[in-house]
C-alpha cells in the first residue's frame, strides 16, 4: 500500500516507533490485525476487562475493511447462520444508538433484483425460507418498486425486499470501534507488523514483531484477514483459507436519494464464486457498484501488491448498473479499488481456539465480515475470558458454525 523509496527502505524501524510508539513487554491478550474483525475483537475483549493489545501491520482498517460496502443484514446470507446474523445486525444497530451514530448507520433496506425465471424462483425460495425463520422480507412487484427505488427502471421481473438491511460508513465505523476499544482499556498500534509467534512449552506465549521486539501474552488472536494463515503457519498450523480478490467502482457524487437501497443480485445458491452484484449510494453521494460474473482469478501473491480492477469486471459492472439504472448510464466514473478477502471451504468464518494452547483465530470473512464483526468479537471474547457476552443458545450455535477444526485438523 505504500511506495518503497530507494533512500528510505521499508525497514521495521521506519514503521514501528515513528509516532512515539513504545510497545509494552506483555499483554493479557494480543490481537493480530486491525481490520474491523480485529477491532471488534479488541472492543469485546476490552469490555470483558482483558485490556487487549491490538497490533496492525499498516493502517487500521486499511485493508479490505476500508474497501467495503459494509452492508449489515441477514438477507441471503445462508439459513444456518440466520440466528447469529440477526444478533450481529442488532449489535450494529445498538452500537449506533448507543454512540449517537457517528458512523452513518443507515437502515435503508435491501432489494434483490430478479431478472429471469431462475432468479424469480430463487428469490421466492429465499423469502419463504427467511420468513419461516421470522425475517421481515417479502417479494415486491415492479409497480411497488417504483415507490421503493424510483430510478430502478431496468427490465426486472420483480425483487425481494428486506427493509431492515443497513449500511455503515466503513472508515468511520472502524474508527468508532477503535476509539471505543481504547476507551474500554485496549491499546492499539498501527504500523506494527507481527513477524512470528513465541512458543514456550508447547504453548503460544506471545509475538515477535518485525523489528525483533518480543511481546508476551496469555492469548494471541489471529484476525489478520487473508494473511492469517501466514501467521499460523509459523507454528505449523495450515489453515484452509485462500485470498480472493474483490473490487469496486465509484462514480462522481450524485444527488442524495438517487439510489435509496442496497441493490443486489439474488444469488441462486452458488455463493459469491458464481457472481454477485451490489450497488448502493454512499453518504458522500457517490454511487458504489460492482458486478462479478463467475470467478475472478486471484493471482499468486496478489494480496501483497496494490492491484488494479480487471477490465472484464469494469465491463460487467458498468453494464449491470446501466441496465438497472438507465438514468445513470452516462455519469462519470471517479474511482476504483481492489482488496482481498479470506475464503474458507464452506464460506463461513473460522472463529475460536486453534490446536495450539493460547492461540485463537477470527478470520475467513468470505466477503461479508463487516456484518458479522461485532458478533464474532463478542463470541471470541467470551470464549477467551470465560465471560460469555452472547446468549447461551447463540454461543452454542456460533461454536458449531465457526469451529476452526471443522475441516479436520491439519497440522
Amino acid at each position: 500500500m505504500r511506495g518503497s523509496g530507494r533512500r528510505h527502505p521499508r525497514g521495521s524501524a521506519a514503521r514501528i516507533g515513528r509516532c512515539d510508539v513504545t510497545l509494552p513487554e506483555r499483554a493479557e491478550v494480543i490481537v493480530v490485525g486491525g481490520g474491523i474483525v480485529g477491532l471488534a475483537a479488541a472492543l469485546a475483549l476490552a469490555e470483558a476487562g482483558a485490556a487487549p493489545l491490538l497490533l496492525e501491520a499498516r493502517s487500521f482498517g486499511g485493508a479490505v475493511t476500508g474497501g467495503s460496502l459494509a452492508a449489515i443484514g441477514t438477507h441471503m446470507h445462508g439459513l444456518e447462520e440466520y440466528a447469529v446474523m440477526d444478533e450481529a445486525c442488532a449489535l450494529w444497530r445498538d452500537l449506533a444508538a448507543r454512540t449517537g451514530n457517528p458512523f452513518e448507520y443507515n437502515p435503508q433496506g435491501q432489494i434483490g433484483f430478479l431478472l429471469d425465471a431462475d432468479g424469480v424462483e430463487a428469490g421466492e425460495r429465499w423469502v419463504a425460507d427467511e420468513r419461516a425463520l421470522g425475517a421481515d422480507c417479502r417479494l415486491v412487484t415492479p409497480a411497488e418498486l417504483a415507490e421503493i427505488e424510483p430510478n430502478l427502471t431496468g427490465p426486472i421481473l420483480g425483487a425481494t425486499f428486506a427493509p431492515d438491511t443497513a449500511t455503515v460508513n466503513p472508515f468511520l465505523a472502524a474508527r468508532t470501534v477503535l476509539s471505543l476499544a481504547r476507551a474500554a482499556g485496549a491499546s492499539a498500534r498501527d504500523h506494527a507488523p507481527v513477524a512470528d509467534l513465541l512458543v514456550e512449552a508447547g504453548r503460544v506465549a506471545g509475538v515477535r514483531m518485525e523489528n525483533g521486539t518480543e511481546i508476551r501474552a496469555e492469548h494471541v488472536v489471529l484476525a489478520s484477514g487473508p494473511w492469517t494463515q501466514d501467521v499460523s503457519a509459523r507454528v505449523g498450523i495450515d489453515l484452509p483459507l485462500v485470498p480472493r480478490q474483490a473490487q469496486c467502482l465509484a462514480t462522481l457524487r450524485q444527488r442524495p436519494g438517487t439510489i435509496r437501497r442496497i441493490v443486489s443480485a439474488v444469488e441462486s445458491g452458488g455463493g459469491v464464486d458464481s457472481g454477485y452484484t451490489q450497488i448502493q449510494q454512499a453518504g458522500s453521494g457517490q454511487i458504489l457498484f460492482n458486478t462479478v460474473v463467475g470467478l475472478i482469478e486471484t493471482p499468486e501473491g496478489a494480496r501483497d501488491r496494490i492491484n488494479e480492477v480487471p477490465s472484464g469486471f469494469v465491463l460487467t459492472s458498468i453494464d449491470t448498473l446501466s441496465l438497472l439504472f438507465p438514468s445513470l448510464a452516462g455519469v462519470p466514473l471517479l474511482r476504483s479499488w481492489v482488496r482481498f478477502e479470506a475464503v474458507s471451504p464452506d464460506a463461513r468464518f473460522l472463529a475460536g481456539r486453534l490446536p495450539r494452547d493460547g492461540l485463537w483465530i477470527c478470520a475467513g470473512d468470505n466477503g461479508s465480515g463487516y456484518c458479522r464483526a461485532l458478533m464474532l468479537g463478542r463470541f471470541l471474547a467470551g470464549e477467551i475470558t470465560g465471560q460469555p457476552a452472547l446468549a447461551p443458545a447463540l454461543r452454542a450455535e456460533a461454536r458449531a458454525l465457526y469451529d476452526p477444526d471443522r475441516f479436520g485438523r491439519a497440522a
Partner: protein, 474 residues
C-alpha cells in the same frame, strides 16, 4: 460504441518540452510514435501556446520553442494528438494499452513502449483564508495571462506570493502581458553569495536571471523578500492580504504584520510537484526528494523506470525546469526506441547537458528550498479538502487518533476522495502529517487508480473493452 484504436511502437504521454523531444527522438530513430496531450495545443506548461490573436506571448522564445518542437516531432513522423487525455494505462501482452478521452470519445492506444512526460502541477499549501474566491494559484494566474483574454478577471490590486524561481517567471509574464502587479512577496531571501556562486558555475544562465530580475522591477511591484502571506482576509472574496517578515527561525513575526488593502487577486505559488498518476498506476517505483518537488518517478540515466518498456522524462522525474525536461525527453525517447530494436542515437552530449541543467536546477532549488509545511497555525475550521469539505481540525484529529500515513488520512477523513483525488489537498495533508512528526518520506503517496481523471461511464466501457480484447487476444 467501440473505441477508436491506434497502435504504435512508442506512445508518449505529454506534449510539453519533454514529451515533444521524446516523440522526435523516437520517431527519428524510425519508431512509429503517437504523442498524446490533454491540452488543446502542444507545448505543455513552459511553451503554452497563446489562444488570442496578437498575444504579447506569441513571439516569446518559449512559445516559439514549443512550435519548433512540435514541428520537428511531426516532421520526424510522430503523430501528435491534442485534446487527448490519458485516463488509464495498463500492461497488455507485448506492451501497454492507454485509454484516452479524446474530446468525449474513447481512444485506445496500443504501444510497445510508453514514455510518460506528464510534467508538473501546482503544489498548493493551505494558509488561513486560502479558499476565498480571488485566491488563485500562481500557475493559474500565468495561464490567464498567456491564454484566454490575457488578463486577470478581478479588479483591485494584484499580489503575487510564495517562493521559488517560478514566481519570478510569473512576474515576468505580468510584465510581458502589460498587466499590473502591485506586490511581490517571496518567502526566501536568497543569499548574495549563494546566487553569485550558482551563476559563477552556470554563467550561461546569468542573462536569463538578469532578465527575470529586470522584468520584476519593471512591473513596478512593491517587493517583499523574506515575507510570507499569513492570511487572506475577506467576507465573500479576498479583500486584503496580511503579510509578515520571517524571523531567524523561519517563523513569521506576527508582531510585525502589514496589511495590503483593496486586493482583487492573490496569486500564490509554493512550487510544483511532479505529475505521477500514470507512473504510479502502472506500478513504477517512486522516490521522495524535497528538492525535486517531492515524490517523483524513479528512473535510470536513460529514463527507464522500474517497469520494463515504461520510460519517464521531464518533470515526472522531478522538478527542474524546461531545459532538463527537453533533454531528458530526447534521451528517453531515443532509449525507448533503441530498446525496441531501432538504431540508437549517440546521447553522450545530451546526457552531459542534462547533468549540467539538473545541477543548475538543484542549485536554484537549494536557494529557494521548498517549504515542507508553512510555518503558520491553521484554525481548526480552515478548509483543507474543498471537494469533501474536510477541515484542518478533522485532519489533525484523525492523525492524533491513528491515521499515520497519507493513505490513512484519506480513508479516515475522505480528504482527497472527491473529484480532484487529492491534487489540491494532497500537499496540505502531507504538510499536516509533517507537522505531526510524520515526514512525507514515511507518509508516502497515494497511488492512482482507474480512472486518472473522472470520465463518463460509456467512455470507460469502450476503452476497457478494447483493453480486454488486447489482454485476451491469442
Amino acid at each position: 460504441m467501440t473505441a477508436e484504436r491506434l497502435s504504435c511502437d512508442v506512445a508518449v504521454v505529454g506534449a510539453g518540452p519533454a514529451g515533444l523531444a521524446a516523440a522526435s527522438a523516437a520517431a527519428t530513430a524510425g519508431a512509429s510514435v503517437i504523442c498524446l496531450d490533454a491540452f488543446g495545443q502542444p507545448g505543455g506548461q513552459y511553451a503554452m501556446q497563446p489562444t488570442q490573436a496578437g498575444s504579447a506571448f506569441a513571439e516569446t522564445s518559449a512559445v516559439l520553442s514549443g512550435q519548433d518542437a512540435a514541428q520537428q516531432a511531426a516532421a520526424a513522423g510522430a503523430k501528435i494528438l491534442c485534446g487527448a487525455e490519458v485516463f488509464w494505462g495498463a500492461p497488455v501482452p507485448g506492451g501497454f494499452c492507454l485509454s484516452v478521452n479524446r474530446q468525449g470519445s474513447a481512444l485506445a492506444v496500443e504501444a510497445r513502449a510508453v514514455v510518460v512526460a506528464a510534467g508538473a502541477m501546482e503544489r498548493p499549501l493551505p494558509f488561513p483564508g486560502w479558499t476565498l474566491p480571488g485566491v488563485i494559484g500562481a500557475g493559474a494566474a500565468q495561464r490567464m495571462l498567456k491564454t484566454g483574454s490575457g488578463a486577470l478577471p478581478m479588479t483591485g490590486s494584484t499580489v503575487l506570493a510564495g517562493s521559488g524561481p517560478f514566481l519570478l517567471a510569473v512576474a515576468q509574464s505580468f510584465a510581458r502581458a502589460g498587466q499590473p502587479l502591485d506586490h511581490f512577496v517571496e518567502m526566501q531571501r536568497p543569499s548574495l553569495t549563494g546566487l553569485t556562486g550558482l551563476f559563477m558555475r552556470h554563467p550561461d544562465r546569468v542573462f536569463e536571471a538578469m532578465r527575470l530580475g529586470r522584468d520584476l522591477r519593471g512591473t513596478g511591484a512593491t517587493r517583499h523578500f523574506g515575507h510570507i502571506v499569513t492570511r487572506a482576509i475577506g467576507r465573500d472574496r479576498v479583500e486584503a492580504v496580511e503579510i509578515a517578515p520571517l524571523d531567524g527561525s523561519g517563523r513569521p513575526d506576527m508582531s510585525r504584520t502589514t496589511r495590503i488593502e483593496r486586493v482583487g487577486t492573490l496569486a500564490v505559488g509554493y512550487g510544483f510537484q511532479p505529475v505521477i498518476d500514470l507512473t504510479t498506476a502502472l506500478g513504477a517505483a517512486h522516490d521522495f526528494d524535497a528538492a525535486l518537488g517531492g515524490w517523483h518517478c524513479r528512473a535510470d540515466d536513460d529514463g527507464a523506470t522500474t517497469i520494463p518498456n515504461l520510460w519517464a522524462a521531464g518533470e515526472t522525474l522531478g522538478i527542474g525546469g524546461a531545459a532538463p525536461a527537453q533533454l531528458s525527453g530526447r534521451i528517453a525517447g531515443g532509449a525507448a526506441a533503441a530498446a525496441l530494436g531501432f538504431p540508437a542515437d549517440d546521447t553522450a552530449e545530451p546526457r552531459k547537458r542534462v547533468r549540467r541543467a539538473r545541477a543548475f536546477a538543484a542549485g536554484l532549488a537549494a536557494l529557494f528550498p521548498m517549504p515542507r509545511h508553512l510555518p503558520l497555525e491553521l484554525p481548526d475550521d480552515e478548509l483543507i479538502c474543498r471537494c469533501e469539505d474536510i477541515r484542518a481540525g478533522d485532519i489533525a484529529t484523525a492523525i492524533a487518533e491513528g491515521a499515520h500515513e497519507s493513505f490513512a488520512v484519506k480513508t479516515w477523513t475522505r480528504a482527497g476522495m472527491g473529484p480532484c483525488q487529492g491534487r489540491i489537498c494532497g500537499a496540505g495533508v502531507a504538510a499536516a502529517l509533517a507537522r505531526a512528526g510524520i515526514p512525507s518520506e514515511t507518509a508516502s503517496y497515494n497511488r492512482a487508480h482507474l480512472p486518472l481523471r473522472p470520465v463518463p461511464l460509456p467512455l470507460v466501457r469502450d476503452a476497457m473493452e478494447a483493453q480486454n480484447q488486447m489482454e485476451t487476444r491469442a
